[in-house]
Symmetry: C2
Subunit: 416 residues, 2 copies
């Protein structure tokens, strides 16, 4: 591991505080954390990347607006309700969430980002959220990072966080991050949220560039069920507490920061896959020697997203026929007679034909592992791309068959 | 029903003969039909549409070549082995299949089309196929249509065939067709094959146009698991036995023939969905008032293919949140605040918000039906598109987890 990991998650970088409460949004009768505030003592440079789904949740719109001409230094987030498909009222609710803590913190509303994750289409229960503004602000502490990771969980089975330290320009800086995902669990229950904090002194331009590139290298290289949530958000805050010199675009320091940030996000991205809903396998799909990067990506995505390929992984089945079939419909130019397919280092298909000399039992043993790699060599060019994927289990479908219970509960509580 | 259905399947039109045998390709110990010959007593005008998968099975390549500068008047087809990913030997085997019956029939090899469906990557067991050439030809009969439908089945639970008669230019013509599908069952076990026969007198140009347009309106409007096989083939033979006048492009007769052909193919396309692997629901996804036809198609496909939407159907869950979320990631331009979603005629979402006044139990009752319709009104333009889809069940995944047994069997038999 090229970086030193440290404790503290999003509160590991200097000057970041957090607090979390159980507001009963997930379930009025449970004491699971579901409302959290992350805040920097100092003003920040900030950046964000958001879902490209054209149906955007209210908090996504509000956070985008807040970031447009401002720097945010804090984030309020809830789980249990996505505040999506909630119209004008939803936007008002998201604004109010930011405003209620901004007032107590003595900052402007636009300095607070807002995130929500949970059920789509239900109004946010503001009457359960409002009473906690005071507590959220008064209990802010530099040791509460782990609770942020916990408060944003929905069907995740475990909190996912990391913090590292590295030297840039001879000065130690820290990057902390937490994430929730669980496999686009289901778009109406889940979402990918990621909060990144750092005490590095960095310009907005450089942070923007590093964040979008690191997201490209990490969260955009994973797939669980191929769906894209209405709420996906990555927010990064940099408060410069580690001291200068300032990191600017196009410098060696910028490259070092990008690498460190990419390491952090890729680590969490892989954790999302491993903690995917009812996932039993972590499979790396590596496409080699495509004509262009875009071709490599198309092939990797077609294979990594194919229901039938994923079903075969679930069954420990080294089914290269399904893999090559997905390569074929990826719309990337390929030549069937040049394609080699490996499970780890063992050839399953050479030149588009079954690999003579490979024992089926040996392939089977690899496909039965909890983690393995499928290498697809197109032998056409020089472009590579890798995607991290999971299997598709009968249990996943079963788990996602019915959210009716949630709606029924909402009706009972008089929300709809 | 606008057309009169008649008996006889692909042998209902005059002058078509068929024969089928059990060659032990599916399983040497079973007597299931798995090799069939369809043949017209007279020369035909012929047309075909094929998979767009870039990995093409040998029989697809051979049939395409035969159709290029020739007219085919017969089809030999086997199930149990797809003859895909079998390289040069596969092409030789496919040619030999055509040749062995062509010789006995006294026609050229290029007058016979070839189709295979089954496992990918295994060589075709020609030693089991060759001995049946004589029987296939000597047992050709005009009453054997139903056996063709049966001989091409893989994981289909029932044969799927239809024949109709209609009048064109005051003369009765007949169209017969059979199909196999079962849900792209799994690309390495399945495929969509469809054989169409007619005794209409039609030009090649008109048949080409009618077939491609009818396929567009039928097989291109269904989805079960979103995968596209290496072997998909539709072949149409027209032998003119019903007599002239000849149907040519751009005429009213051509339109009448197109409508009749579309009726036949849509009927079979829907049957494929209903007989999809472990399918419990038949769901019509109707997109209305998109800006362009392409937008309507994108939205319909995104919804009809979404794993999570399909899982909700399996669970009788009227989960419009997942539907609108798939609309959002379809990449078609939409305006969230204009979207209405209905289950049958009942509004679930109006203007992007939960439909007030609709009882959840009423929506639930619709989603619990075996067949229902989801209407997505984008309220943006005037273009519509409809796709016929199925649910996704835990049993489907379970069914498709493991083909290892087939490979193991092949190894035991010394094929690989």
């Amino acid at each position: 591991m090229p970086y030193k990991t440290i404790k503290g998650g999003v509160c590991a970088p200097k000057g970041f505080l957090a607090s979390s409460v159980s507001a009963g949004i997930k379930n009025p009768d449970s004491d699971r954390l579901d409302l959290t505030l992350l805040y920097s003592e100092d003003p920040c440079v900030s950046s964000g990347t958001f879902t490209t789904n054209r149906v955007k949740a209210a908090p996504v719109r509000v956070s985008q607006a807040h970031l447009r001409n401002n720097e945010i230094r804090g984030i309020i987030a809830n789980s249990g309700n996505a505040n999506a498909c909630t119209g004008v009222c939803g936007v008002e609710d998201a604004r109010e969430m930011a405003k209620m803590v901004a007032m107590k913190l003595g900052v402007r509303r636009r300095e607070i980002g807002v995130c929500s994750t949970g059920v789509i289409g239900l109004p946010l229960p503001m009457e359960r959220i409002r009473p906690h503004a005071e507590t959220l602000v008064s209990t802010l502490k530099p040791r509460n990072g782990a609770e942020v990771a916990r408060a944003i969980m929905t069907s995740d089975t475990r909190p996912k966080e990391i913090a590292i330290t590295t030297e840039i320009d001879g000065r130690p800086i820290r990057i902390g991050a937490c994430v929730k995902g669980a496999g686009m669990i289901c778009p109406s229950m889940a979402t990918m949220l990621c909060f990144v904090t750092t005490d590095a002194d960095i310009t907005r331009g450089c942070l923007d560039k590093c964040l979008s590139e690191a997201v490209e290298r990490s969260f955009n290289c994973i797939t669980i069920d191929g769906d894209m949530s209405t709420n996906d958000t990555v927010l990064a805050l940099a408060n410069a507490r580690a001291g200068g010199p300032r990191i600017t675009r196009g410098t060696k320091s910028c490259r070092l920061f990008l690498d460190a940030l990419s390491f952090v996000l890729l680590k969490l991205a892989k954790e999302i896959v491993r903690d995917g809903e009812r996932v039993t396998k972590f499979v790396t799909v590596e496409v080699k020697n495509a004509r262009t990067f875009n071709d490599a990506r198309k092939v990797a995505e077609a294979v990594a997203k194919s229901q039938l390929v994923k079903a075969s992984w679930n069954g420990n089945d080294p089914n290269w026929g399904r893999v090559i079939h997905a390569v074929g419909y990826s719309r990337a130019p390929i030549r069937e007679e040049l394609i080699d397919i490996y499970y780890n280092n063992l050839p399953a298909c050479i030149g588009g034909l079954v690999a003579q000399g490979t024992k089926l039992d040996d392939l089977r043993a690899i496909a039965a592992k909890k983690e393995f790699k499928i290498v697809i060599d197109l032998n056409l060019g020089k472009s590579d791309h890798t995607i991290f994927s999971s299997d598709l289990s009968p249990e996943y479908i079963d788990f996602n068959r019915n959210e009716y219970a949630y709606w029924n509960q909402a009706r009972k509580e008089g929300i709809i």
